[in-house]
């Protein structure tokens, strides 16, 4: 029984560390947030295993749930802003090209 628990705890910890590393190293904010939500849910399992159901509840509800929703919204907004900036830069470049074309003519 204790061997089983040891294996369970090891899987729990290794997956937690893996999720944390993946979330930190992920270059795409959206993917990083999704990994962070998975990390928060997994962490709440770890808290429950440590016998702290209060912290587990708070982690699942606030850390993973509301925090994840807020960060997803922030990632979406920042991506939209980047897109807009890229579009503007492209437009400017196109305009310049137009001007140079007219010069050539």
């Amino acid at each position: 029984m204790s061997l089983l628990l040891f294996v369970f705890d090891s899987i729990l910890l290794l997956t937690l560390l893996g999720l944390a590393t993946a979330a930190v190293l992920s270059p795409e904010p959206r993917n990083a947030v999704m990994l962070f939500i998975a990390f928060g849910l997994w962490l709440s399992l770890v808290w429950a295993r440590l016998g702290a159901p209060d912290v587990a509840l708070a982690e699942a509800a606030i850390g993973a749930g509301i925090g994840g929703a807020l960060m997803l919204a922030a990632a979406r907004r920042s991506a939209r802003r980047d897109n807009r900036r890229d579009n503007r830069r492209d437009n400017r470049r196109d305009n310049r090209r137009d001007v140079s074309c007219q010069d050539a003519q």
Binding site: P53, D54, A56, A58, I66, A73
Partner: protein, 231 residues
């Protein structure tokens, strides 16, 4: 430049992590003798609740919880000062509408249960408030522009309700009772329940308003105006 900055941040964060590990290690290794848990359990009958975590959060260390609520209030003030909220999502399709119609009332009932059960089992104001907040998030995703919250003036009252009532109880106790947030034993349970109820409502509306992500949209905003605000 950007790369150097991220490298610097990485080094600083690693140093902070090392410092935290070192503190954790030395406190565990040095073992400072008796911890506070036996004392907290011993005083539990006088605290007005029978769950030790709630007793610590709302009685022994009520000051900490008051400051946590103040942090949430400061956060929502910061979000509101960023500017008007982006326009909401388009009205949900039939599947999401039915799902929201089921989940939102269930989340509100579960929130009320968690609030009540916090007195004698795991639960409490923050978990209950998070459930109310997630009900607001689902409403916003389903196309309600204000995430189910009332107009701006009422939202301000809701958001300050937690800190306000907490401070009011504390000050009344400081003037007429034993001291700031020192509950008399007879009424401790009801004072804690009162504070927790106000805190739950404040946390729920703060989190939902944070998800809206800006100053509350006006009730009678035309579609053109809201498109203008969203840009």
């Amino acid at each position: 430049m950007n790369r150097d900055l991220s490298l610097l941040i990485g080094i600083l964060v690693s140093l902070l992590a090392l410092l935290l590990i070192w503190i954790f290690y030395t406190t565990l290794a040095a073992d400072p003798g008796p911890r506070l848990a036996p004392l907290a359990l011993e005083q539990l009958p006088n605290s007005g609740v029978s769950h030790p975590v709630t007793a610590v959060l709302l009685n022994y260390r009520a000051y900490d919880t008051l400051l946590e609520l103040a942090v949430l209030l400061a956060a929502i003030l910061g979000i509101w000062s960023l500017g008007p909220a982006p326009s909401g999502f388009q009205p949900a399709g039939p599947a999401l509408t039915v799902l929201a119609n089921w989940i939102v009332p269930l989340a509100i009932i579960t929130g009320g249960y968690l609030l009540w059960v916090g007195g004698h089992a795991p639960g409490g104001a923050f978990q209950a408030g998070a459930l109310l907040g997630s009900a607001g998030v689902i409403l916003r995703l389903a196309g309600h522009e204000r995430a189910g919250l009332p107009n701006e003036a009422a939202q301000r009252w809701l958001v300050v309700a937690g800190v306000g009532l907490f401070l009011l109880v504390g000050l009344l106790l400081a003037v007429f009772g034993a001291g700031f947030l020192t509950y008399p034993k007879a009424s401790a349970k009801w004072l804690i329940l009162l504070i927790e109820t106000a805190a739950t409502i404040a946390i729920g509306s703060t989190l939902a308003a944070a998800y809206v992500g800006g100053r509350p949209p006006l009730a009678q905003s035309t579609s053109a105006a809201s498109k203008d605000l969203g840009a």
